[in-house]
Symmetry: C2
Subunit: 303 residues, 2 copies
């Protein structure tokens, strides 16, 4: 089977953990130990989040004032380099020596007319006082929203339209290469509004689960897994009657509402994948990844 696994941000850096290189590497080592048996049985493509990492880079940009802060698309590219490197190195350490692996930078096209650009919602980077935020809003044309008693930059989260490097990813998968790509939801890009036809970077954040869904569809994956830090999707989560959904169709899942801040986008992406392809999607804990891929753990979304 061809398996696409999207690693949640928590697999790389858990909330409250020190954001050191060592901590990230330790988490990635754990993730790769879980993924290795999947790679031994299947063709495997891995994507990953980059929320905490790109936030940290934005803080470092802010701390160094001799050069203008680099834009978000470039910071995204930096995180694809950093995380892709650590994943492929740790994975290489647990795979058989003759198994090829590669990390590809991934640009994903978004539509400048996407309605998401009219209402930016994703917080990125440092918090500011109102006065600082107003100055930056004027200087850089950034949009700010209140976050607690501080202000923070928000960017749009447009839908992914096209993965530019999809053919190279396909070719490498055909050669049984374990590929790391579409990190952080890919680097958002769009064709310039000036009519030149030039592709350029966009300061936005593509949802990782949706970018990976597009990746899984384009690759013809047999199963698309979103690996997170819970066992799967629950009904009545956080109440005494909470219970795991072990298997459901998109139609069944459509009868429930899942929080936009946690399972909502994952459930939507899973249902979209299943409806478009007739194949299987799954959501569950990274520790159970082999069983999730086999269809015996997590929440299985089926046609």
């Amino acid at each position: 089977m061809l398996v696409v696994v999207a690693l949640g941000g928590n697999a790389l850096l858990q909330r409250g953990q020190a954001m050191t290189a060592e901590m990230q590497r330790m988490n990635i080592r754990t993730a790769c130990a879980a993924l290795a048996p999947v790679a031994e049985e299947h063709q495997l493509v891995i994507s990953h989040g980059n929320g905490p990492q790109v936030g940290l880079l934005a803080l470092k940009e802010q701390a160094y004032s001799d050069v203008d802060a680099y834009p978000l698309d470039i910071l995204d590219a930096q995180t694809e380099g950093m995380i892709g490197y650590m994943v492929e190195q740790e994975l290489g350490n647990v795979l058989p020596e003759d198994r090829p692996f590669a990390s590809l930078l991934t640009m994903i096209e978004v539509d400048p007319a996407d309605p998401a650009f009219a209402d930016p919602t994703k917080f990125v980077g440092p918090v500011y006082d109102k006065e600082q935020a107003d100055v930056l809003a004027g200087e850089k044309a950034w949009v700010f929203k209140q976050d607690g008693d501080k202000w923070r930059r928000v960017v749009a989260s447009p839908a992914p339209k096209r993965i530019f490097e999809i053919e190279p990813v396909k070719w490498l998968v055909e050669m049984n290469t374990v590929v790391v790509c579409a990190g952080g939801g890919g680097i958002p890009t769009a064709f310039a509004a000036d009519g030149s036809g030039a592709l350029e970077g966009v300061e936005a954040v593509i949802d990782k689960d949706w970018a990976s869904e597009l990746l899984a569809r384009d690759l013809g994956a047999d199963v698309y897994v979103m690996a997170t830090d819970t066992d799967g999707v629950y009904l009545d989560w956080g109440t005494p009657s909470q219970r795991l959904i072990d298997r459901a169709t998109p139609a069944e899942l459509a009868q429930h509402a899942f929080p936009a801040g946690s399972m909502g986008p994952k459930v939507d992406a899973a249902c979209h994948f299943v409806l478009k392809t007739g194949k299987r999607a799954a959501i569950g804990g990274l520790k159970d990844i082999l069983e999730i891929v086999a269809g015996t753990a997590g929440t299985q979304v089926v046609a």
Copy 2:
């Protein structure tokens, strides 16, 4: 023909230029405009330097003190992401739409017993006062050397032994993909001294021209070009009698000494490639790249 081009640091960011994202992108756009006709006639693999970029990241790491500075191998990986992204985006903008391109992260093995580790020579990152340098030397086991009236970290520049992602690069080239890889001389890695067999990052700098020479050899390139900001290799450079070497064998070049800080490593890498493969290497200006590849400009090193 299969052509490997190593882009010099100056092609990305010239000495004295502001280190902004815009400036880098402008330079990369110029470089890609020069490279596009080469890609239209040949299979093309591009590597690049990262000296100024990794130095800037080290400054940003130093400026942000809430989290321990990330090690050099991770910063190298970040620059492969950032520069690879800009190169592939700008190149994509000038290539025919159906020409595939990809940027691969590249880990390169070095030998922990390489004599270079006994005498680190490559300056990296910020300058410090003697007192600060002594503290850091104790805390982080960094080695410092004097740089003018300040102190600066030095790391080793070991020889590249093996490119871990070489097979994926080969497969992509066979599919006529323009590949960007081995950026910054690759991410230095070595097998752990603890006998575990684990590959881990090494805080070192592999010379880009030597890393690219290994890349060109492993790929079976027909010509290996080092693109820089001068027309080629000169005899008596900087004197009234200076003259360009337009064509020479390794034996002829061995009769001259070239400065270690500029043409020395390029000439050595060119000669090594020619002696090992019987193929052609060349050194010259990026603006003349098409003629250099054709064998009619720059310094051509031939068997």
